[in-house]
């Protein structure tokens, strides 16, 4: 094979990779009005009497999950909206740990978004009046990174804001286990 051919193959490969990477970097800063679009009530339950099926994953999940921009925005909101005050940088405190891949109310991105939007009875506030749907999905995307769920290439190794926490890519995560409701 000629060196010419090799070079063009390389260019093609690089080009292909670049295009493939676009997906994870897609920005969507515009959001719809609150209330209309928050994933409301995605049930965290896993028992379905009479053989019915769990609700399918919300169609918007793929816009946010594994999206580097959404995760970075979510990370900044995580500290600005004081999530870190209760959940620390994933280890928990007033609120439960988020890095242990144990989900009381479901670990799917739409279930996490529902938890943030609707709140939960043991002290999790309902954020739907304070944040837009877009922001809530960004946060949900980031929260999943604390348990190492999204692919590593979409997670920033550097925090958007000043923090003493360990960079996401350096945090050691336990093996991902299929807990009841977290469907990978």
């Amino acid at each position: 094979m000629s060196s010419h051919c090799r070079a063009s193959l390389l260019v093609l490969a690089v080009g292909g990779l670049t295009l493939a990477a676009c997906d994870r970097e897609e920005h969507h800063s515009r959001s719809k009005p609150i209330g209309e679009t928050v994933a409301a009530g995605q049930s965290p339950d896993t028992i379905f009497p009479g053989g019915s099926q769990p609700a399918p994953l919300d169609a918007r999940a793929k816009l946010y999950d594994n999206n580097a921009n959404a995760i970075a925005q979510g990370q900044q909101l995580y500290s600005q909206m004081n999530c870190a005050g209760c959940h620390a940088h994933g280890g928990g405190g007033m609120g439960p740990a988020l890095m242990d891949n144990e989900w009381r109310y479901g670990g799917r991105i739409d279930q996490i978004a529902a938890t943030i939007a609707e709140g939960r009875p043991n002290g999790m506030p309902a954020w739907k009046g304070k944040l837009t749907a877009d922001q809530i999905w960004d946060l949900a995307a980031y929260v999943r990174t604390l348990s190492g769920l999204p692919s590593k290439d979409s997670v920033s190794s550097r925090s958007e804001s000043m923090s003493t926490g360990t960079p996401q890519t350096l945090t050691s995560h336990g093996t991902i286990k299929n807990s009841d409701s977290a469907q990978q």
């Binding site: 920005h27 515009r30 959001s31 837009t132 922001q135 804001s161 000043m162």
Partner: protein
């Protein structure tokens, strides 16, 4: 926003004579002691360098002319270069002395400029902290009486003739403080304390663009600097310390309720109301400011409507989300914000 469309038209006269553009943003503004120092230095450097340049070019031309005459005359060099012509020798000495003197002169000039700026920093009477954020400026005026500490955003007021020490910090990425008519540049670096001291010498309104690329909306991150007399400055400070006025009309009242309990209050602070967010610009007297969205557009009702309704169209990527306000909510919020004079 007309100015933007016509910007290329302005460019030509600006380049020809920057000083004609009211010194809104000009290195030749000379509106502060620092900028004057720079300007003086600039003229000295320009003068010295121009003089030397003219000499060099003159000699060069002279040399060329001489060379061509010599070649015309078919004069062959004799190769006695080691026996320098006495005139040549003194010319060389003179040339070296001239360059030496020029360099020493420049060094002395910059040394004194530097000294006088350091001197101003030592005598600072006012202390301000400017924190860079993506993409706005957080400004805190320190006071020995903590209850007079003032927090505002995007509009820096400075008193004429008072040396003002400005602490520069950043919350996210590197920004740079640069008000060409007054002083700068100085970077705002996360995790590091930088500072700059300014002694404004005349009143006026100046623009300070962020001078270090800081992300998507870097171009729309600028600072409005208002230099005013000391009494005016104190009046401004006292006024800014006042809590937000109570809304009087029913429309503004509806807006007040929305702003102080809705999503706005999660990030913004409005003095004297329950809205105490600290993550975004302080809105207590937003309507008294000259610009909106960090120097992006002039403050007026139309721009307020546009900004509140859909900031992501005007400044995509900014941390102010498009909330999707209903029309009556929007009217209320704008009516309330307009009362925050």
């Amino acid at each position: 926003m007309k100015a933007h469309r016509n910007a290329p038209l302005f460019l030509v006269p600006m380049m020809l004579c920057a000083c004609q553009y009211q010194h809104y943003q000009s290195d030749f503004g000379g509106a502060a002691v620092e900028d004057r120092q720079f300007l003086t230095l600039f003229w000295i450097f320009l003068g010295v360098c121009a003089f030397v340049y003219v000499l060099v070019v003159g000699f060069l031309i002279g040399g060329i002319v001489r060379q061509s005459r010599a070649s015309e005359a078919k004069v062959v060099e004799t190769g006695r270069h080691h026996e320098s012509h006495p005139l040549m020798r003194s010319t060389f000495i003179g040339w070296a002395t001239l360059i030496g003197a020029g360099l020493v002169g420049l060094a002395i000039a910059s040394f004194f400029a530097d000294r006088s700026m350091a001197e101003a920093a030592r005598n600072a009477k006012l202390s301000v902290k400017v924190t860079g954020n993506q993409w706005w400026w957080d400004i805190t005026y320190n006071s020995s009486d903590p209850s007079k500490t003032l927090r505002t955003a995007n509009e820096l007021h400075l008193p004429v003739g008072i040396p003002t020490h400005i602490q520069l910090q950043s919350n996210d990425v590197i920004h740079s403080f640069w008000v060409p008519s007054l002083a700068g540049k100085q970077d705002l670096i996360p995790g590091r304390d930088n500072d700059i001291t300014i002694v404004p010498s005349r009143a006026g309104i100046f623009r300070g663009p962020c001078a270090e690329f800081c992300g998507l909306q870097h171009a729309n991150m600028s600072l409005v600097v208002v230099v005013e007399s000391y009494p005016d400055f104190i009046k401004w400070w006292d006024h800014q310390l006042q809590p937000a006025p109570q809304p009087t009309t029913s429309l503004a009242l509806a807006g007040y309720h929305y702003v102080t309990t809705g999503p706005c209050s999660a990030c913004h602070n409005i003095g004297g109301t329950p809205a105490s967010g600290q993550a975004a610009p302080d809105l207590t007297h937003i309507a008294s400011r000259k610009s909106l969205a960090a120097g992006m557009m002039p403050m007026n009702e139309g721009n307020l409507y546009g900004w509140v309704e859909d900031p992501q169209s005007l400044k995509p990527g900014s941390h102010m989300p498009t909330i999707g306000l209903e029309p009556d909510q929007l009217h209320g919020v704008v009516a309330y914000l307009e009362t925050l004079k």
